[in-house]
Symmetry: C5
Subunit: 351 residues, 5 copies
């Protein structure tokens, strides 16, 4: 959550300052160039290497893993004619998902999510996509992404991906990010089911922290998916020449995905708050059971102890003490008291 | 809830992969062909058998129970010119209810619900309906459906169903699904009434689980019915030539049904959360009753036991011990203490 | 709540089946015929008797108390040219308030409410009103209604009612139903005030049930009044020639009534949930008072009993036992302990 | 809350029946007549006295304190050509704030609020304002209002009020009512701050009633201010010739006021529910503190009392009893037990 | 919160009365005058000094720290032709953020926020900005603001700020205020994280007050940022010639900021209510742990004490007392009882 906004406050708008977790590794730049017949993929050292191939008739996809080295973003951005405010947002990794249309390109921000099974936490990575007339730029915070299946389809020329333009590639990248949300939601769903089982059997304080934790994750997840709805619906309605007609119907499918994801997230939120209620009741039921049993034991013995106390008194004139059957009579009295109390408790259904 | 999204992630859009519970039985294909004068119904082995009769002037209804064998869906879909994204959604049984209009057909997704009395759970089955110019395709997950009364009306030529076109049949199928929602809601209502009675008499932890369970069922049910509202209202507003004029006024009636179902589901949600509140209070009231009675007993005996303890002390110089009426006096003291405490408790209304 | 939807499921739309509580009494048919100068009112045996007078230049109001005998509804409906779906809804007494405009008539559904003081429950009766060019049909579930003052005004030719057409009569009927809502709300308000007083003085478990009960009644009441808003606003905006101009400004007044009723119902809902909170706190406060006092008594005596126990020990060598002032010293010690504990409790404000 | 709706139910619309608290005093009628140069103010006995001066070129403001004598309202209303439904609403003091535009006048209903410091209750008075072409009628329930500063400005010809027409006077009256809401809100704010302080120091059951009471007042206040938003915005958008252009920009300022009032009321609602939560926790924290301390004391003495009990047994063969250091050893054992328990409690942070 | 509305109630609209915390220091007036080549900045004594330079072709920015001396506001306001209602609002420091468009200027109100680490409270300062054709007026409540970086950029002619007109300066001022919101939110976020950690380790009553306090701060913060959304979106859509085209795209960026701030505030609200829930459960869990352990200890000793009591009775005929192994047998009985109870508790998982 530490984003160090203080670094940014008051700077001129369009000042390119990285806001996000500190990183030291060198950003990795991957260049993919393809048309219906050719495919080339290589890791390049300097961003300038990419400048040469950009304007060809083939589609160029430059993927940059790491935006903490702002000069790389600035160089490629300036080369492609990006607005300073766009470059600012690419390296400021706290944007909400959005779509901004410019004359010669469309700027898209999405959040790539990952569910970490060990901590039951969702990690978020900002992905910026620039859709230009013959190129795609994609900026990520770290190496590792959900794009591998797309690259695979490009390499093997599977489906229509190599025969259509950059807007379809942009769609494919977004689709791979959104498809991954289903997996994250599936894992959250499984986590919730585990919680539900645990909670009823054994409502420990740790479960409370788990519920609070997963609730927060769902809150953050909602923030990543709610704006997506508008992003994709604006892409659909946009009349930009950058978006080919064939891509349009696939965007409808993607919109459909988004709605389902939002609905599932809302459902999980409702279920989580239901789980919280049941947890609280379970704890209280368990405690009540302990208290009730123990209190009953105590209550039965208290009058008995009183009787024993009475005949432990040292008065000189206590006729019962001299009786032959005094001691057994005391035992019988004590038995009668305890049995009648047990019967009363049972009639009241406390036992 | 296990849908194994991992199977799908990253695949090219339009890849037809079954997502849903695993099934092994062979899908059952039923072919119905009718016009005002003729009616034919038969189970066919191969989907190809259906291809011949499709383009006749009569109405053809092909119902397929089972979408886990994707090649059947693919064959009939390709034959009827369905878009790959539609075929993908037919076999991906986690769609939300929706309506998609294409040039030569309308694609509808609905959820068929069943209330299982034993587990108080609602089971959901995805039904896809394709409305074409002279045919209806319907895809279900399993055998068994709510369509039997519609088939009966077709067989007996009851009402207007045989004299109107496929859009009226599509309406009749949707109506039979929606009518069934009322039955599911009625059963949920009865379950809630039972819960309410039990809860006040005997608020056990099992009831807590029941409340949580039915709450979840209502959450899932809402997800099936809310989108229906828009589906039907879009059908009504659609100007597709596929929907005959006579069907229109029946769609209004269906829309009316949907609103009532949504309202009832919302009402049940409110009532369920009211029941939860009452349950929690009942448990707490019951526990309070136990604790109060038991604590009162304990509190009365504690001072008595103290008095007995005092005269159980072994000091050599304790004048009371030698008194003739010491022992009866101690009893009287103890009686006075307990009676005055009882009176105090009664005045405070704790008894 | 038992509506037996199973009777209806799968039937052809427009099939006229009574859904509602079973009734055996014969429906009562009342025919009123009036113009500026004449007024005729009589109970008729057969619905066919009404057919003769319908088309006269006077206004005819046929009121039918009881829709469980569906053939009556069917006969008059067919005679007046009602759509089968309208007839279906008249006898299906679970409709939500609605307005449907047809070419030659307007179909209105409202809920007539009654607050039963004994059970604090609101009973609902469905009223269907058909507004035709020169007639009004009204269908109720039972005898007894809120229309008596309207009939009185008709009989005595009070106000403008006899000099205007059927749309004003329809308005007057709706107004009498809506005016009755204020009475129901007033009674609910009084019930809530009683609850509030009881709750603070004596928060018994019965009050919990009362709160839950009235909450449910308010939920059901909201379902009857919310849709009314749209019904009346659609009547106002409708350009049907069936609604005379003079009726229009009265509809605005009725709309105003509806808004006030909805607001009051919402207010009661908020107040009820406030009452629930206060109830829960009152119970808890009361319990706390009991527990605290009792625990304090117990705690004071426990150390005293310990001291008594010490000097009840039978060791041979216990010097205190032989002391002359040992017994009084023990008493003083016990007094000191109890007084210092009382002072500590008072300083902590627990007393 | 007692409004006796039963008086009204079923009456013909436009029947003028007073609904509100019963009053016996004679309504006070004040007549103010002014233009740029002249100002006349007097209390009149009969409403008919006002009829003479109404149609002059100056502005006439007739204020009537008391609407329970319906004939006064009827006379002036009929004289000014008010619609019967308007007269009905003037004397029915349960209207919601509203604006109704007629051909020759505008009818406004507002609620004048007063915060009663003693009971922390908000009292409501209905004010009806009729804005005519050269006159203002204002109807209140009681004497005493927020209009005094407006009268002062009229008398002293302060600001533009004497040089503009009746719409500005209507604005000034509304502004004085709305300005008073700020004072009511300020007092509620102060009450909430007092509650907050009390609550943490000393969470008594009386505070619970205070919270519930102020919550209800805020609920009622919201009902008075929410509709005002629409009233003023409709006045602004209205193209009635009755509203002079100069008044328009002041209405915008008034609208601004209304939004701020609504926002503050919402904020107070949120804060009140926060206070409720803190109250409940404070009560529970306080109780926990009592229970914990007392239980700890009891628990420490219970094993000690047991040891004392053991050596109070009367077995003939108990070697410890004969030991010389038996008694001190028992004391040491008891000390060790109690010290180790205290240490355990401290380690567990229960002390 | 003390705003002394009573000072204002009933005054003529447009009366300029300071509403806010009382202040005595002299307002500080700063005059900045710049164009592409020149920059002049000085503190002036009298507001009249500023009048001379206003109408030059350069941009003039007059900043006034302190609006409690209303004559200064009145003089400059009258000189610049501000509407009396605008001057009234400038000195009435309880406005909500708003934008009002006039013919020759735009009036903007914003809230400058400051998070005070010591008290965890957000302080609010009202900033009014007047955007004229060649000048900017800014009014603050106190010295000290977030504008320093903007002044720095002006002094050093950094970025485009000196080469564009006053609308860009207005944007830059707003941006500096909004950028500061991120810092406030960041600090609230850190405070919440600290709370979360504390709460689970050691849920003291102080944390309750902290949660309630920060909840209130978030409520107030929301009131400052929600209206901003509309302010900026109305600026964007405005077609005022006062807003240069270059400023427009920067306003979009600012709008984007606002949405993110609102979302973060909403997220914090949700998290705070989650923290409240966890706090309450933690307290309850902690209390349960205490009660359970202590109750178990008590319950084990109660039957033992009873056994000791029995053999402390003084009956003459108690055979066990004379037995040689009576005393060890009693110990063994007591051990058996306590061990079997411990085993029972462990089996029940209470230990
Ligand atoms: Mg910025
Ligand atoms: Mg990140
Ligand atoms: Mg990455
Ligand atoms: Mg996908
Ligand atoms: Mg986490
Ligand atoms: Mg799809
Ligand atoms: Mg897909
Ligand atoms: Mg399924
Ligand atoms: Mg099936
Ligand atoms: Mg149906
Ligand atoms: Mg289940
Ligand atoms: Mg119907
Ligand atoms: Mg039907
Ligand atoms: Mg009924
Ligand atoms: Mg009836
Ligand atoms: Mg009425
Ligand atoms: Mg009931
Ligand atoms: Mg009215
Ligand atoms: Mg009326
Ligand atoms: Mg009143
Ligand atoms: Mg008054
Ligand atoms: Mg004002
Ligand atoms: Mg009150
Ligand atoms: Mg103002
Ligand atoms: Mg004012
Ligand atoms: Mg301030
Ligand atoms: Mg300042
Ligand atoms: Mg900024
Ligand atoms: Mg504070
Ligand atoms: Mg930006
Ligand atoms: Mg509790």
């Amino acid at each position: 959550m530490k984003k160090h906004y203080s670094k940014k406050a008051g700077l001129a708008p369009g000042t390119i300052v990285h806001v996000g977790e500190a990183r030291t590794e060198r950003p990795k730049i991957t260049l993919i160039n393809y048309d219906r017949n050719n495919y080339e993929e290589r890791v390049v050292e300097d961003i300038e290497t990419c400048f040469l191939c950009k304007d060809s008739s083939s589609v160029t996809w430059i993927n940059i893993d790491g935006v903490h080295q702002v000069d790389i973003v600035e160089k490629i951005g300036t080369h492609c004619g990006l607005h300073p405010l766009v470059m600012e947002d690419i390296v400021h990794t706290d944007q909400r998902p959005k779509m901004e249309e410019f004359e010669s390109y469309i700027y898209l921000v999405l959040k790539m999510l990952q569910f970490d099974d060990a901590t039951a936490a969702v990690t978020t990575e900002q992905v910026s996509i620039i859709l230009g007339p013959s190129f795609i730029l994609s900026f990520q915070e770290d190496e590792g992404d959900t794009f591998e299946p797309v690259r695979e389809r490009l390499r093997n020329s599977k489906g229509r991906i190599r025969s259509v333009g950059p807007s379809y590639l942009a769609y494919a990248l977004m689709d791979s990010i959104v498809d991954n949300y289903f997996i994250v939601l599936e894992k959250i769903g499984e986590f919730l089911e585990l919680l539900e089982e645990d909670m009823i059997e054994n409502p420990t304080p740790e479960i409370l922290e788990d519920i609070h934790g997963i609730k927060k994750e769902i809150i953050y997840l909602r923030r990543s998916v709610w704006p997506l709805r508008e992003v994709i619906s604006r892409l659909e309605r946009s009349e930009s020449p950058l978006i080919e007609k064939v891509t349009m119907e696939f965007l409808k499918d993607l919109y459909d995905h988004t709605i389902r994801i939002i609905e599932t997230a809302e459902t999980y939120r409702d279920i989580t708050s239901g789980i919280m209620d049941v947890y609280l009741s379970s704890v209280s039921n368990k405690m009540n059971e302990v208290m009730k049993t123990l209190t009953i034991i105590a209550t039965i013995f208290i009058p008995l102890t009183f009787i024993a106390g009475v005949y432990g008194m040292n008065f000189e004139h206590m006729p019962e003490l001299g009786w032959k059957w005094g001691y057994p009579a005391a035992w019988i009295a004590m038995l009668l008291v305890s049995v009648s109390m047990l019967m009363y408790f049972r009639r009241k259904k406390w036992l």
